[in-house]
């Protein structure tokens, strides 16, 4: 085999005393597609960001073409031939494709930016990838997500990268767009570019990768040729942790009641044909890939982007929710995915945040809720220096508890939770799970959207899997990860369900 282009050994990284990488390393050869796989929080993104120079490592070594490197900035990495296509795009929507590809490195002629050369080189790079439908002069905001992805890859190529890292490159792509990405990767491979490919989609990993490295909880599980692995073994290595330790059982006295929320053929611009029956005391998990329409489903129920088709019933009564205010009045609550942008007023106090919904929708109950609030906060174990502290100074877990307190105050009947434990520590996670169990015992119905499959499996009474804006499957409690992943990727046939992973 050829000389390795990149060797990483024993990388260590901690954030605020929490170790997220424990001695992880891998080796990349020219023309190799190397899959990096693991659950959310396994350390994949941190690993990539260290290689890219976004984070600085605490320990370990990285060598590119034999020379040890220590990047302080992504630009240094790019200059050394290591480019990264991050999950969140780094593009300027108002600028053209060519301007984005060459931003910060605009070619010059007689001191002036040489637009023609910029466009020509971009067109050339696009042509090398076999892309003829992207206009180098078009503003990026007019491109589809897949096309923007290609622009990111072209940006990486324009620095003559020998290693390209791709973080979940298909997360926002539709199926036919994924095929396009496959074709591009094949071309890059043929040119001798090494690719580090991070994905949740097992099918892609097996389709594309020559080598697979599995991470779990920040540590290396295994690294080896892809053809020595199958889906079951891979899933076993990724998961390999008893779910029960984490997730509390349903509290005694929890009973399934009448249907609280019923959707029949519901749809709008983002989701379609949704059939859902959510009963009192029930937790229904919603799984699916990013961009599959999970958040959009919650937003439709909550009236942010109302359903335009089908029917919705709440406690047996047909209603049309056309706005968040109405939703709150009807007894719905939405714990949003992005806590900092959509859930909290960061520079206001714990008290103001916890009273936010009550003050604006049920202002007559403000005084009563305010009296109860200290009790609610302490029952949620919110650790703060008091109700006057600004929420921006709380940890992620405590912030999330404030969001929950805000909604508990409205005494909701149906709670929609979008990634309720994203970015919070284990202790806070368990507190959120306990709260969910308590709510269901009181007859509340919960729809929980989550990217973390163990969480979906551990908490849900039933599981809905979204794929391309539709519910592709409804699975019973304790379904296995492989089945859920297969439904989420729309590749049920690709995975052997008979021997599904435990």
């Amino acid at each position: 085999m050829s000389e390795p282009i990149l060797v990483a050994e024993g990388l260590e990284k901690s954030f605020f005393g929490v170790q997220v990488l424990r001695g992880v390393g891998l080796t990349l050869h020219p023309g190799e597609v190397h899959g990096l796989i693991g659950e959310n929080g396994a350390g994949k993104s941190t690993f990539m960001k260290i290689l890219a120079g976004v984070y600085q490592r605490d320990g370990g070594t990285v060598r590119i073409a034999g020379a040890e490197v220590d990047f302080q900035h992504p630009v240094q990495a790019a200059e050394a031939g290591l480019a990264t296509v991050f999950q969140e795009f780094n593009l300027l929507p108002e600028r053209t494709v060519a301007e984005n590809v060459f931003v910060g490195r605009e070619p010059r002629r007689f001191g002036l930016v040489d637009r023609r050369r910029m466009v020509r080189q971009t067109e050339q790079l696009l042509a090398e990838l076999g892309i003829d439908f992207i206009d180098a002069d078009a503003p990026v905001r007019r491109l589809s997500v897949a096309e923007q992805q290609i622009v990111e890859i072209v940006k990486a190529l324009s620095v003559d990268a020998r290693v390209i890292q791709m973080d979940e490159p298909t997360a926002a792509l539709a199926d036919h767009e994924v095929e396009l990405l496959y074709a591009i990767i094949a071309r890059l491979k043929a040119r001798g570019v090494a690719i580090l490919y991070v994905s949740h989609r097992l099918k892609e990993i097996f389709d594309l990768c020559d080598t697979i490295t599995v991470l779990k909880d920040g540590a290396l599980v295994s690294t080896g040729p892809a053809d020595e692995l199958d889906t079951d073994e891979l899933v076993r290595r990724m998961v390999g942790r008893p779910i029960e330790t984490y997730f509390p059982e349903a509290e005694p006295g929890t009973e399934l009641g009448e249907p609280r929320l019923v959707l029949r053929g519901a749809g709008n611009g983002y989701v379609d044909g949704i059939e859902l029956e959510l009963r009192a005391g029930e937790i229904v998990g919603v799984a699916g890939l990013q961009g599959s329409g999970r958040t959009e489903l919650a937003e439709a129920v909550f009236g942010i982007a109302p359903f335009t088709r089908g029917t919705m019933e709440l406690d047996g009564r047909a209603i049309r929710v056309t706005g968040a205010r109405q939703a709150v009045r009807e007894g719905l609550a939405l714990v949003t995915e992005d806590r900092k942008a959509q859930g909290l007023a960061l520079n206001q106090s714990v008290l103001d945040n916890a009273l936010l919904v009550i003050r604006s929708v049920f202002s007559r109950r403000t005084a009563a809720v305010r009296r109860e609030l200290p009790g609610v906060l302490s029952s949620l174990e919110v650790a703060s220096r008091g109700v006057d502290q600004e929420v921006q100074y709380l940890s992620g877990g405590n912030q999330q508890k404030v969001v929950l307190a805000k909604w508990l105050a409205t005494e909701p009947r149906v709670v929609l939770m979008d990634e309720p434990t994203r970015g919070i520590d284990v202790g806070a996670k368990v507190a959120v799970y306990r709260l969910m169990r308590r709510l269901t015992r009181e007859g509340v119905a919960i729809l929980m959207i989550s990217s973390e499959l163990p969480e979906v499996i551990g908490m849900s009474d039933r599981i809905i899997v979204m794929h391309d804006g539709r519910a592709s499957a409804e699975l019973p409690a304790r379904s296995d990860e492989a089945t859920i992943l297969a439904a989420a990727t729309g590749t049920l046939a690709a995975i052997d369900l008979e021997g599904g992973a435990a």
Partner: protein, 358 residues
């Protein structure tokens, strides 16, 4: 398909805010011409054209500079006092002697550049919001003006007054100069790295930084150029009136009016999108509206009402166009719309930046 697509998209790319400003300008001119005709006057008479163009040049200079600053997602409120200060510096130094003109120009532009440098450094190094930073520097200049000048001052020689007084046919020299500066700034934005970086930093500072751009430099450059073009406006006012005046800026209300013209011209107040020619269009719309109202002898109160309506209406139009929406996956019947990559031309131009938002 793929052969036709880029061309189709390029056409639509041009159908952008500058074009909308152009269309709006034509509509305003048409309505104005009709209104002026109803009172028995000719909108297109050389005299009236000259009036409009004269009205454009001072605001034009200020707004060109302001465009640069707004593109960086900053603001400059100090232009008001830079205008007055530069008129005073120039008129005092000229002191009626044509030989002093070069020195006077250099001094007022140099002082303005220093003020702009201070603004830029405060915004980028002290991380003070541009609105506040330039409000502060503006107040400092105002204090200097108030305590040192009781009224008009200096004497501008005839040679320099000619700039403000002569014209080629109905086109005043000052307007030609203003348009020349606009062209230069247009080239600067489109053809220099700093110009490109102004758009990048204004569009998304994080992306700019990760792309290796030193993000302070373009912002500082924009502030320096903005102050200097405000100084040009002050020089023009001095040339027209023959003296420097500590209230030139305040009389015209150029701080907020220039920002309004920039926004009217389709530049995003949040930065990253816009063009100088859009701004010139915005300035022209203001000039035409003002001209029509003064020809028709509309009372001053109503004038401000109309100006206000124009600004708000324009921004409302842009806001309705630029709402960030995710691209719908399903149409009204529930069938998926045509696949995006296969037919990008079919995508609604208003449904925009899904990827960027992620």
């Amino acid at each position: 398909m793929s052969a036709a697509t880029p061309a189709a998209r390029r056409r639509r790319g041009r159908l952008d805010s500058s074009l909308i400003v152009g269309i709006a300008l034509v509509v305003v001119i048409a309505i104005g011409a009709i209104l002026v005709a109803t009172v028995g006057r000719n909108f297109f008479s050389p005299g009236n054209i000259r009036d409009i163009l004269t009205g454009m040049s001072v605001l034009g200079f200020v707004a060109i500079g302001q465009t640069l600053v707004v593109l960086c997602a900053s603001l400059d409120l100090s232009v008001l006092y830079v205008i007055s200060l530069s008129s005073l510096i120039a008129a005092d130094l000229m002191a009626g002697n044509p030989a002093n003109i070069p020195l006077a120009l250099a001094a007022s532009l140099g002082v303005a550049a220093l003020i702009g440098l201070a603004n830029g450094l405060i915004v980028t190094k002290l991380k003070v919001n541009g609105f506040i930073a330039t409000l502060g520097t503006g107040l400092i200049i105002k204090g200097f003006l108030d305590s040192n000048y009781k009224g008009t001052s200096g004497d501008v020689p005839m040679e320099f007054r000619l700039i403000g007084a002569t014209g080629l046919g109905p086109v005043p020299v000052s307007t030609i100069l203003m348009l020349a500066v606009a062209e230069l700034v247009w080239l600067f934005l489109g053809r220099t790295r700093t110009g490109h970086h102004i758009y990048a930093v204004g569009g998304n500072e994080q992306v700019a930084r990760l792309s290796g751009i030193r993000t302070a430099r373009p912002v500082i450059a924009a502030h320096v150029l903005c102050s200097m073009s405000a100084a040009l406006a002050g020089l023009l006012l001095a040339s027209r009136s023959g003296v420097g005046n500590p209230t030139f800026g305040a009389q015209g209300g150029y701080d907020l009016l220039s920002i309004a013209a920039v926004v009217l011209g389709g530049t995003l107040l949040l930065g990253g999108r816009g063009s100088v020619w859009g701004t010139i269009g915005g300035v022209a719309i203001f000039a035409v509206v003002d001209n029509v109202m003064s020809v028709m002898q509309v009372n001053p109160f109503l004038k401000d009402v109309v100006r206000g309506i124009v600004i708000v209406a324009a921004v409302a139009v842009y806001a309705s166009r630029s709402v960030e929406r995710r691209r719908p996956r399903f149409d009204a019947g529930g069938a998926p719309p045509a696949p995006a990559a296969a037919s990008p031309a079919a995508v609604d131009p208003a449904a925009t930046t899904e990827g960027a938002a992620r």
